[in-house]
């Protein structure tokens, strides 16, 4: 029933992350097959961002194991970082540089050899449809263009796995659709495995091959969207969420305190609003 045949692009096994007393991620396990689009769903503070930070080697796990493209995030972090692309929620391109300069910058820092850089940049421009805006300062780009530029900067090292933390937050529906179109095209062309986090159930339903529902640090359900709807006899992932967690996906992520100190803090909320304002 799950499509994890062959060597997994991502393998997460009983992952636990604690910050002092707080357990942000409490024993999460899942696998993602190469070329799959996997959505990690849940409200703010559910542990999505913490999970991504472990998988991108930014945060060491308290216990458990995570393999990315066959490499252990703890023991072989450098190997992992050479094989991934990561677009955090906060804006990661420099508004004071042009789109092309941002691409050049990320090409250099992600270790793309000089002789290949131009070709890789052209390739990323093509994939993300950035040609008309290369000479514009990034701060003058619209939210959707900015996200596509960010994704392009993360493709220069030809990552096997691409991590996107809330890639469509603050985007209007048409910009959102375009971002997803480009991501799907990338997957089709390069076979890139994509892990996205989102709290938009409808978006996950439409664009993800498989989803994992995460709530208060635990993965409470996973599978193909259609399969989940069937299993729980509901018409939307939103209802699946309510069924498996016992609470609704409220605007603030349901009742209770945030178990994940990486999400939902004042600074974080402020940063998120700032992102949304700049994109909008």
């Amino acid at each position: 029933m799950s499509s994890s045949h062959g060597p997994a692009a991502l393998l997460v096994d009983d992952l636990v992350v604690r910050f002092g007393e707080l357990e942000a991620v409490g024993g999460v396990s899942f696998a993602v097959a190469p070329g799959e689009v996997f959505g990690l769903l849940g409200p703010n503070g559910a542990g999505k961002t913490t999970t991504i930070r472990v998988l991108t080697t930014l945060l060491p796990p308290t216990s458990g194991r995570a393999l990315v493209a066959g490499h252990d995030v703890r023991a072989e972090s450098l190997q992992v970082r050479a094989r991934i692309g990561y677009i955090p929620q906060a804006i990661s391109v420099d508004g004071a540089l042009t789109a092309w300069e941002n691409l050049d910058f990320y090409g250099r820092v992600s270790g793309v050899a000089r002789r290949e850089r131009r070709e890789r940049i052209d390739e990323a421009i093509e994939t993300m449809g950035l040609a008309p805006m290369l000479d514009r300062l990034a701060r003058t780009l619209s939210g959707g263009m900015l996200r596509r530029l960010e994704i392009a900067t993360a493709l220069l090292n030809r990552p096997s796995v691409l991590f996107l933390d809330e890639p469509t937050v603050g985007l209007d529906p048409s910009a959102r659709r375009l971002v997803w179109e480009r991501l799907q095209a990338l997957r089709a062309q390069a076979g890139t495995t994509i892990l996205v986090t989102t709290h938009l159930m409808e978006e996950a339903e439409r664009h993800c091959d498989r989803v994992g529902v995460i709530d208060r640090g635990r993965l409470v359900e996973q599978g193909e969207p259609g399969e989940l709807l069937e299993r729980h006899g509901t018409g939307s992932l939103e209802e699946v969420f309510t069924t498996v967690t016992g609470h609704a996906l409220g605007p603030d992520g349901g009742p209770g305190e945030d178990p994940d100190p990486n999400e939902g803090r004042l600074a974080d909320v402020r940063a998120q609003r700032r992102v949304a304002r700049r994109l909008g």
Binding site: R53, T56, T57, L58, L59, P60, R74, E76, S77, L78, Q79, R81, A82, R83, I84, Y86, I87, P88, Q89, A90, I91, S92, V93, D94, G95, A96, L97, T98, E101, F105, Y106, R108, V109, S110, G111, V112, A113, E116, L137, T153, A154, N157, F163, N262, A267, A271
Partner: protein, 279 residues
Amino acid sequence: MSAHSAASPAGSAERLPAALASGAIARLAEGTLAMAQAEMRKLRHDHLDIVTRSVQPLLWLFIFGTALAHDHVLTIGSLDYHAYLAPGVMAQAAMFIAIFFGLAVIWERDVGQLQRLLATPLSRTAIVLGKAAGACVRALVQALLLLVVIAVAGIGVSWSVDGVLGTLVLLMLGTAAFACMSMLIAAVVKERERFMGIGQLVMMPLFFASSALYPLSAMPGWLHAVARVNPLTYEVQGLRQMLVGVGGAGELWLDFLVVIGFLLVMLAAATRAYPKAIL
């Protein structure tokens, strides 16, 4: 704990992807240069910025300097006070850039960028050094601008190629050190609102308790003692030695040594603390 990220995998060269084909040192240099170049490009897009920032040091030089030079309120031998003050103002202006650069970088502009950089094969040292190099680029452009103004104003600086080059090198070392220091402060303070206050709180004592504005001999004993352990004092003394031929009590090599030592300590501390602060 931070050591795991900087580990270089020896002996598995055939399994390395292209991104790791070059060695750790080459990647460090490439990353640092890329960040410095990005800062250069930003300056090119917005040259007004560097001009407006250069106004403050010029005010110090021509208003404060002129006021104190008038009627020889402060006499430093036969030296014109403007000439005495010029290296101090250059060092101060560079330090201001360094400290505000580090503070502004974190929460305002680059939170996402730093998270991204942490997930690339760049080492943490390269990230911190790259940011410091960015501050150095700005400080360098400003220093050149100030030197031009000093030359045009006919301030009695003893111009020599060695002196000017040495000045710029020492200024860059100092700027990198103060940029690292400000990243360290930013990592500790964390709240954006407190940054400005803390920045001022750190900068002003460093500035006043140094030989930037007046000689150490003019200070009371306690202030003299503070100034003696202030790295800015040594930076200013070195600059002054190279630009106007009047140093402090110490030798030029000592000035360089103190600034380099300060840089290494701050770089090590910032490398530990700074990247974690944005998570």
